[in-house]
């Protein structure tokens, strides 16, 4: 580790006269860069917190999320119920805690689905160009303009409402942004000399695409996916708000906020706490994503 103010000079002395190599401290440097970004560290802490809460719900939640106690409806926050109770007397804190599971599940799976779809379609479009590119980009554009709510409604008709419905709705509409991202990266990288060099060694398209282009192109997609998880969680809440997502008694944050609107001014805690939980979660992912941009030195993360 170099002290600040110290001149960086030849760490190994005079150096091998024939063939010195540049010092590599790249991993260390990246780590230092990341930890220096305080907001990014906060983001990571939040994410770890979220995952922790989701996995340890059984131990953290003081009550069951579905146990109703009709005599204790709409109680304000108190010592027994830190976040109060909802319309069925269920403890809001426990429901918020268990709700994190749904958020994590939906966030990760839906983004995973859209990233895989997007990577596949986008890289083929970017690599082959021509009419394949035109066709796939048109499909991506059309998909992108589909409101996910409409898709969700359609899916409800087919497979019924629920978490899976939300995941599919998000996955089938949001892959387009990742496709566009990776397509742009591949368009830039496919003319790099090492691609041509590998081709001149006799490699086929598959090898070039998957072994050389994708690993180098994936940076911005990772960042977008991180922020995408936050996006998906908000979407789940939106669809849940409309009753299309997790069905009762599952404690999706969006559904909780939905059922609480009727009594917004009387018992606001039923909306405030799940809403706060969601805000903090999304903030965490966004901060982490922004820090990643800085650390990975990515120039372009625009999606549309």
């Amino acid at each position: 580790m170099f002290k600040k103010r110290e001149i960086i000079q030849n760490p190994a002395g005079a150096g091998n006269p024939d063939l010195t190599m540049m010092p590599s401290g790249q991993r260390r440097r990246l780590w230092r860069k990341f930890t220096a970004n305080r907001l990014g560290v906060i983001g990571v802490v939040i994410i770890i917190g979220l995952v922790g809460v989701a996995s340890l719900s059984d131990w953290l939640a003081p009550y069951s999320y579905k146990e109703q106690e009709l005599s204790a409806m709409y109680l304000a926050p108190s010592a027994e119920h830190w976040m109060g109770t909802d319309e069925f007397g269920r403890d809001v804190l426990s429901r918020v805690i268990y709700g994190s599971r749904i958020s994590v599940y939906v966030g990760v799976v839906s983004v995973g689905l859209s990233v895989i779809l997007g990577l596949f379609i986008g890289s083929i479009a970017g690599y082959y160009g021509g009419w394949i590119d035109h066709a796939l980009t048109t499909i991506a554009d059309l998909t992108w303009s589909l409101p996910e709510i409409l898709v969700a409604l359609l899916l409800v008709a087919i497979i019924g409402a629920g978490v899976e419905c939300v995941i599919l709705a998000i996955g089938l509409t949001y892959w387009a942004q990742y496709a566009r991202l990776i397509r742009g990266q591949i368009l830039m990288l496919k003319n790099e000399v090492y691609v041509e060099a590998t081709r001149s060694l006799g490699a086929n398209d598959f090898t070039i695409l998957f072994k050389h282009l994708l690993p180098n192109a994936i940076g911005p997609v990772v960042v977008a996916a991180t922020i995408g998880v936050g996006q998906a969680i908000v979407l789940e809440a939106t669809l849940g708000f409309l009753g299309l997502g997790a069905q009762p008694p599952l404690p999706s944050w969006g559904a909780m906020m939905s059922s609480g609107t009727a009594y917004l001014f009387i018992s606001p805690w039923v909306i405030i706490f799940p809403g706060l939980a969601m805000m903090i979660t999304v903030l965490g992912f966004n901060l982490f994503g922004d820090a990643l941009v800085d650390v990975m030195d990515i120039k372009d993360t625009t999606t549309s």
């Binding site: 190599m21 000399v193 090492y194 060099a197 006799g202």
Partner: protein, 326 residues
């Protein structure tokens, strides 16, 4: 016939389109009717300025891009007719060293992985230990050390990177190596190292080189013969050491006269030639050099001169060469 590579009437035209319906508005003749031979064991230089087509020619010979017309023979086999499998096998025998060592290596691959990849791509049946030995040996051959196999490109200097690129080209012991400006991106002191290395390797492995460069002095020093190109056409082929002393084509002379020698006693008093290389888009008929040629006459404007043999392995495309064939 001792020609390892024969190029006959090779052309590569790029259509230029405009508008929504992609109307053809002209062509760029990147390489136009090029004919040349490369003898086994020879170092053939290709010189020219921007737009002359030398890099396109290299890629055509390696069939990285498809020609518009003409043929290329490697060991008397027409490589334009090979199918995918045969082409991949051909790649074992002819390889390329690229211009920019800074981007010729995948930045995420260690040296070892970059070199090992070739064996994988070419499906060479080889066990891991033998692979390690071969790569260690390869590194030594190009002047690197075994510890360089575990590092990444960003940890190597420009010269070291280029050595890895050369090692990669030699991994499957090819017969013919195309060197596309292999030292252009390197410092002068390192350039000399790489040139000497290339000479050693040529002698050791009986290689044949096609050496592309814009540096006339380097071609003079390193090559046996030189091909001078201008706007996609070959204007002269002559022994490399005659480029500065007895060039036949006016362009070759202008080129040689424009090179500054690192010797104050050899200062040039006048500018050899005015103007710049024109755009290759929609060239007129006639000699490509006519517009800048101080000796041009009417016939030069009407039809392009053919490349005629004027000596053993020497050719010139000019109606009024500076030295008349005897």
């Amino acid at each position: 016939m001792s020609s390892l590579v024969r190029v006959q009437n090779l052309s590569k035209y790029f259509p230029v389109t405009a508008g929504l319906l992609h109307r053809l508005i002209g062509t760029i003749k990147a390489v136009d009717d090029v004919t040349l031979n490369i003898d086994r064991g020879e170092i053939l230089g290709v010189v020219g300025e921007s737009g002359c087509g030398k890099s396109t020619l290299a890629r055509l010979i390696l069939r990285l891009i498809e020609p518009t017309s003409g043929s290329i023979f490697f060991n008397n086999q027409n490589i334009c007719q090979l199918d995918k499998l045969q082409l991949r096998q051909l790649r074992r025998r002819m390889q390329m060293v690229f211009q920019d060592p800074y981007s010729a290596l995948d930045p995420r691959y260690s040296t070892f992985r970059s070199l090992a990849e070739i064996y994988k791509i070419q499906k060479v049946d080889i066990d891991y230990q033998e692979l390690k030995d071969r790569i260690a040996k390869l590194l030594l051959t190009v002047g690197l050390k075994p510890e360089h196999s575990n590092v990444y490109p960003h940890q190597l200097s420009g010269g070291q990177k280029q050595r890895v690129v050369i090692a990669r080209a030699l991994a499957l012991t090819p017969e013919f190596v195309i060197l596309d400006e292999p030292t252009a991106a390197l410092d002068v002191s390192v350039q000399a190292q790489v040139i000497l290395l290339l000479q050693q390797l040529r002698d050791k492995f009986n290689l044949t080189y096609l050496f592309i460069s814009h540096d006339l002095a380097l071609v003079d020093y390193f090559c046996n013969r030189a091909v001078v190109m201008y706007l996609g056409r070959v204007v002269e082929i002559l022994p490399a050491n005659k480029v500065s002393s007895t060039p036949r084509h006016p362009y070759t002379k202008a080129l040689a006269d424009s090179v500054f020698v690192a010797d104050p006693a050899a200062r040039k008093e006048t500018v050899p030639i005015e103007g710049e290389v024109p755009s290759p888009f929609d060239l007129p008929n006639g000699c490509v050099f006519e517009a800048r040629c101080p000796y041009a006459r009417n016939v030069c404007r009407e039809t392009a001169p053919t490349l005629d043999e004027v000596g053993d392995g020497e050719y010139v495309a000019c109606y009024f060469p500076l030295i008349n064939p005897s």
